[in-house]
C-alpha cells in the first residue's frame, strides 16, 4: 500500500543520525520532526535565523517574534540560538547543516530539482530553496511519485524551471526510496505491498533496479 504523508516522513526520519543539524522544508518535510527517534540528538535549523526549533506553542503562548521559515508560530528547545539571515545561509553554504529535506515538483535522474515556479502561474519566489539546494551537503526530497494527472515526477529532465542542478541525493515517495546515482535513480526500497513493476511504470527517468528490492521497514 502506498505510504501516506506521515509514513513518508517516518521513513525519512530513518535517515537521521545522532548529532545531525537538519533543515526541514514546508509540507511533508515538516512532519519528519515528529519521528525523530527518542534519545537521538537532532537539532532543527530554520533558515530565517534559528537553531533549535521546537514544536508549535500551546494555545495562548504564541510569540509573534518567534516564527519559522514557513511563518508559523513555533517554540525553541534548550540550547537554541538566534542569528541573522546571512549567518543562517552562511552555515548552510558552509556545509554545517547535515541534512536538508524538501518537497519538489520534479526531480531529474541527474538530481536536478524544480520546485519554485510554474510558467504561466503567478510566481511567488524561490525563498531560500535555491540556497538550500545549491549548498546543502545532503538533500532528501519528499514528494509524491506522480502529479495529480498521474504523470511521473521522476524524469529524465525537469520540464519546469530549475531550482538547482545535480543536488538531490535521495528521494522518498509514497511508493519508493531511491538514490540519485551517476547511473540515474537507483531503487532501494519499495513501500509495503507495492511492486517493483509499479515503481518502474511510474518512473519516467532512468531507473536502476538491481536484484530483489526490499520492502521499507516502518
Amino acid at each position: 500500500m502506498a505510504l501516506d504523508k506521515n509514513q513518508i516522513a517516518k521513513r525519512i526520519a530513518q535517515e537521521l543520525q545522532d548529532g545531525y543539524y537538519v533543515n526541514l522544508g514546508i509540507g511533508i518535510p515538516t512532519l519528519v520532526a515528529n519521528y525523530i527517534p527518542a534519545g537521538m540528538d537532532v537539532v532543527l535549523q530554520s533558515e530565517n535565523g534559528l537553531l533549535g526549533m521546537g514544536p508549535f506553542p500551546f494555545e495562548g503562548d504564541e510569540d509573534p517574534d518567534l516564527i519559522n521559515a514557513g511563518k508559523q508560530t513555533i517554540t525553541t528547545v534548550p540550547g537554541s540560538s538566534f542569528f541573522d539571515s546571512a549567518m543562517s545561509f552562511g552555515m548552510i553554504r558552509a556545509g554545517k547543516v547535515d541534512l536538508t529535506v524538501l518537497g519538489a515538483m520534479e526531480v531529474s535522474d541527474q538530481g536536478d530539482i524544480a520546485n519554485w515556479k510554474i510558467p504561466g502561474k503567478m510566481v511567488k519566489g524561490m525563498g531560500g530553496a535555491m540556497d538550500l539546494v545549491a549548498s546543502a551537503k545532503n538533500i532528501i526530497v519528499a514528494m509524491m511519485h506522480t502529479n495529480p494527472k498521474g504523470e511521473s515526477k521522476l524524469l529524465p529532465q525537469c520540464t519546469l524551471p530549475l531550482t538547482g542542478k545535480c543536488c538531490v541525493k535521495k528521494i522518498v515517495t509514497e511508493l519508493a526510496v531511491l538514490d540519485v546515482t551517476p547511473q540515474g535513480f537507483k531503487l532501494l526500497e519499495r513501500a509495503p505491498g507495492i511492486t517493483t513493476e509499479e515503481i518502474i511504470s511510474k518512473t519516467a527517468g532512468k531507473l536502476v533496479v538491481e536484484g530483489e528490492i526490499p520492502e521499507m521497514q516502518l
Binding site: 530554520s46 533558515e47 530565517n48 535565523g49 534559528l50 514544536p55 508549535f56 506553542p57 500551546f58 494555545e59 495562548g60 503562548d61 504564541e62 510569540d63 509573534p64 517574534d65 518567534l66 516564527i67 519559522n68 521559515a69 514557513g70 511563518k71 508559523q72 508560530t73 513555533i74 538566534f82 542569528f83 541573522d84 539571515s85 546571512a86 543562517s88 545561509f89 552562511g90 548552510i92 553554504r93 536536478d112 503567478m122 510566481v123 511567488k124 519566489g125 524561490m126 525563498g127 531560500g128 530553496a129 535555491m130 540556497d131 545549491a134 549548498s135 524551471p161 530549475l162 531550482t163 538547482g164 542542478k165 545535480c166
Partner: protein, 232 residues
Amino acid sequence: MKKVYDNATDAIAGIADGAVIMLGGFGLCGIPENCIAALVQKNIKQLTCISNNAGVDDFGIGLMLQQKQVKKMISSYVGENAEFERQLLSGELEVELIPQGTLATRCMAAGYGMPAIYTPAGVGTEVAEGKESRVFNGKEYLMEYAFDADYAIVKAWKGDTAGNLIYKEAARNFNPLMAMAGKITIAEVEELVPEGTLDPNQIHTPGIYVHRIFQGVDYQKRIEQRTVRTRP
C-alpha cells in the same frame, strides 16, 4: 550628534520619490511598522523596496502597494496578497526575485564594504542568466553584487541613544544586515534606553551603523500563520 528622533514621521524626513529603500523583517515578523505607516502617510512614490517579502494585503509593505508607492520590489518571496498580484500582472509593478541567502549576503556585503560575493545559489537556473559565474574547488558559484540602497529601515527590540540595537528572537532576520547596508539607516525600537544601559557585549548592531533612532508605538506584531498545539 543627535541620533534620537521623536517619531517615525521625523525619522523618515528626506526620503523622496524614487528612493531605494531596504526594509527589514521576514514576513510580518520584525518589520518596521511605524516607518511603513509614515511612508504611507507621506505617500512618496516610485520607490524601489528591497525586502524579503512584500507584506500582506492590509499590512506591512502591502499598505504601500495599495497606494501604488512601489515601482519595484526586490525580494525572495512575494505575493501573499491580491493587490500585489494585480499590479504585477498589469505591469504596474516590477519584481526582481532573488534567492533568500543571496539577498541576505548582498546586504552584508554592502555593510562590510565588499563589492561582490560568490554564492552557489541559482547556478544552473534562470537566476544565473546574465551573471558571471566562476568555479572554485570544482564547484560553480555566481558573482552577486553588494546592494546600493539610499535608506535602510529596520526594527529592533531595544536600542540606545548611541544607536546600538538588540533584536528579539526570529525578528532579527534581515534587520542587522540591512542596518549595516543603508547610506542612511533608520531604526525603530520597542524600547529606547539611554546610552550605557545596554551590555556592550550583547549589541547586535553597533551604533556606528545607525543614523536615526526612535521609540515606536502601537506595535501590532501580526502573526501570519498561527500554529498551536492543544494543551495536554
